[in-house]
């Protein structure tokens, strides 16, 4: 049975598509699934940086499409997680070098051997987005709680429902539970109110995610850190298991007290 192709997209740039792709992929791989991540952001490749695999990339997606190497040759194996592979994007080319049909056939080939093929889509709704969506069985929309991110996510959901008949799942990234609790910023319910799609996961805002991403050490590898729970929960939900939302407060004495008083 071929694996599932999942596209991670957002519309707006900078909301955390690449970070989410990486960490969900790591979490799925740690759960024992065979995972291939594909960077569809040709010309602006950075999935390999976030995964910390930059130095090991030899061939990329464009090489595969143009027949300079075999598909299996181009896959970079992650040395920390056995079952995780990366197919990098080309940095020197642009999005028009990979057609929609080529993207579909590459992903179809990958899904023969992998349980999950996760595509990191470029920002925007142009050609790159189209070819990242075309092969997918499922779509994850990443958004933050900002107005602009929500507006773009809403548009992307509209496009997905109209052109691709997709029912995407939602990932709320960089969620600031404190601001939402104080009523300063919209909370999860408000976001779901607007977007009205299924929630797949919520990732709290935390500096260790920023740092881990910058260092190429995905936070999901560090299971002892409480925020990595967000990604592992998401991976469970991708696999079809029902797990509750995590507690967004950092563990600690004062937060334990706050919890006691229901704040």
């Amino acid at each position: 049975m071929p694996g599932t192709v999942i596209t991670v997209t957002s519309g707006k740039g900078g909301v955390g598509k690449t970070t989410t792709t990486t960490n969900v992929a790591v979490a799925l791989a740690l759960a024992g699934k065979r995972v291939v991540v594909v960077d569809a952001d040709i010309g602006l490749r950075n999935l390999d940086l976030v995964m910390g695999l930059e130095s090991r990339v030899i061939y990329d997606l464009v090489d595969v499409v143009e027949g300079r190497c075999e598909l299996q040759q181009a896959l970079v194996r992650d040395n920390r997680v056995e079952s995780l592979h990366l197919l990098a994007a080309a940095q020197t080319r642009d999005k028009s070098d990979v057609g929609i049909q080529q993207m579909v056939s590459v992903c179809k080939a990958l899904s023969q051997t992998a349980d999950y093929v996760i595509i990191d889509s470029p920002a925007g709704i142009e050609h790159g987005f189209q070819s990242a969506i075309a092969p997918s069985d499922r779509v994850l929309i990443v958004t933050t709680a900002d107005v602009s991110a929500l507006r773009d996510a809403d548009k992307v959901i509209y496009l997905l429902e109209r052109d691709w008949k997709h029912q995407p799942g939602l990932v709320v990234n960089r969620y600031n539970a404190q601001l939402s609790r104080d009523g300063e910023l919209r909370d999860i319910d408000d976001i779901l109110d607007i977007l009205s799609i299924d929630l797949l996961g919520v990732v709290p805002e935390h500096k260790s995610i920023v740092l881990a991403t910058d260092r190429g050490q995905p936070i999901a590898l560090n299971r002892r850190h409480y925020v990595s729970q967000a990604y592992h929960n998401m991976a469970q939900r991708v696999m079809g298991n029902n797990v509750p939302l995590m507690d967004f407060r950092e563990p600690g004495f004062f937060n334990a007290l706050a919890r006691l008083f229901g704040r």
Binding site: V147, L150, R151, D152, D154, K155, I157, Y158, L159, E161, R162, G183, D193, I194, S196, G262, R263
Partner: protein
């Protein structure tokens, strides 16, 4: 009642043409139907061209206080009568007790012809009240029968001679119903009044020559009476549009009041009531829907 700030005259004239490009929307399930009977909407701007029903001899439309019956200008009178009879039978008493306006255009009808129509209507428990025509002979015949007449002074809506029948058994409603949420970037433009069963998200637009009703949250842009109908209204269960336009008047929603700060248990969620917007004294006014219900003390109704 609250008054929204800043009315401005900016749309009005060019919005009539705006309505013609219907195809921004992905949905094409249903041809654009007849506009409702209000005078402003009977203008040529309404999209009749797309109606696909077969050519008709008799056309029946609901009008405030009754129905109007249009008879084709050419064609055999007996056939028309038969067609009228069939339609009325098919309506199964839908028009019972209704007063009918007979529209004959330039056709020259004799007294006898009109009497036949009257008998047919009476058979269906309807009364013939007015005959409208541009032909002298017809008008005289009508007066001879004691019917009131009208010379069609106002320009008749420019219609193709082969106008579609309104099938009464499945009345073509003047409402377009959109099922589902309108998302950012989506534009719904119709000549008919629009009912959205779902939310209108920020960034989405609903534009209608008639009314706009949202059975959900209205957070995007709503434009009612886009062809200039100042009687059009915008209504929503949760009323917080980014921008609101009725005919040529625009308004921006007032800042939503934040719930007061305080401890969880004392914090009250802002009250949500369905609201209706309409034009009063040249400005857009929004009020809770039940303020305008009959039986309620009147504030400033139109």
């Amino acid at each position: 009642m609250m008054v929204m700030d800043e009315g401005s005259e900016q749309e009005g004239t060019n919005s009539a043409t705006e309505l013609r490009d219907e195809a921004v929307q992905p949905q094409t399930e249903r041809p654009a139907g007849e506009s409702s009977g209000r005078p402003a909407e009977a203008s040529p701007a309404s999209s009749r061209a797309t109606v696909e029903t077969p050519p008709a001899a008799v056309k029946i439309r609901g009008r405030p206080g009754g129905v109007s019956i249009e008879m084709e200008e050419e064609g055999d009178w007996d056939d028309l009568l038969k067609a009228l009879d069939e339609r009325l039978s098919a309506a199964e008493g839908f028009f019972r007790g209704g007063r009918a306006v007979l529209e004959l255009g330039p056709r020259e009808a004799a007294e006898d012809d009109l009497r036949q129509v009257r008998t047919t209507l009476v058979r269906h428990d309807m009364t013939l009240s007015v005959v409208r025509s541009t032909a002298r002979q017809t008008l005289q015949a009508a007066q001879a029968l004691g019917l009131s007449t009208s010379t069609d002074a106002e320009p008749a809506p420019s219609q193709p001679a082969m106008a579609p029948v309104v099938a009464i058994s499945q009345p073509q409603s003047p409402y377009f119903v959109h099922n589902g949420t309108l998302r950012s970037g989506q534009v719904l433009r119709k000549a008919e009044s629009i009912v959205v069963l779902g939310d209108v998200n920020p960034g989405a637009q609903v534009i209608s020559a008639g009314d706009v009703m949202v059975w959900g949250r209205l957070r995007g842009v709503a434009h009612a009476g886009a062809a200039g109908n100042k009687k059009a209204v915008v209504a929503a269960i949760e009323f917080s549009p980014t921008q609101l336009r009725i005919a040529g008047v625009a308004a921006i929603a007032p800042e939503n009041k934040k719930p007061g700060r305080g401890l969880k248990f004392w914090k009250k969620p802002p009250e949500r009531r369905p609201e209706v917007a309409y034009i009063a004294d040249g400005r857009i006014v929004v009020e809770p829907w039940d303020d305008s219900r009959p039986g309620r003390p009147k504030t400033s109704r139109r």
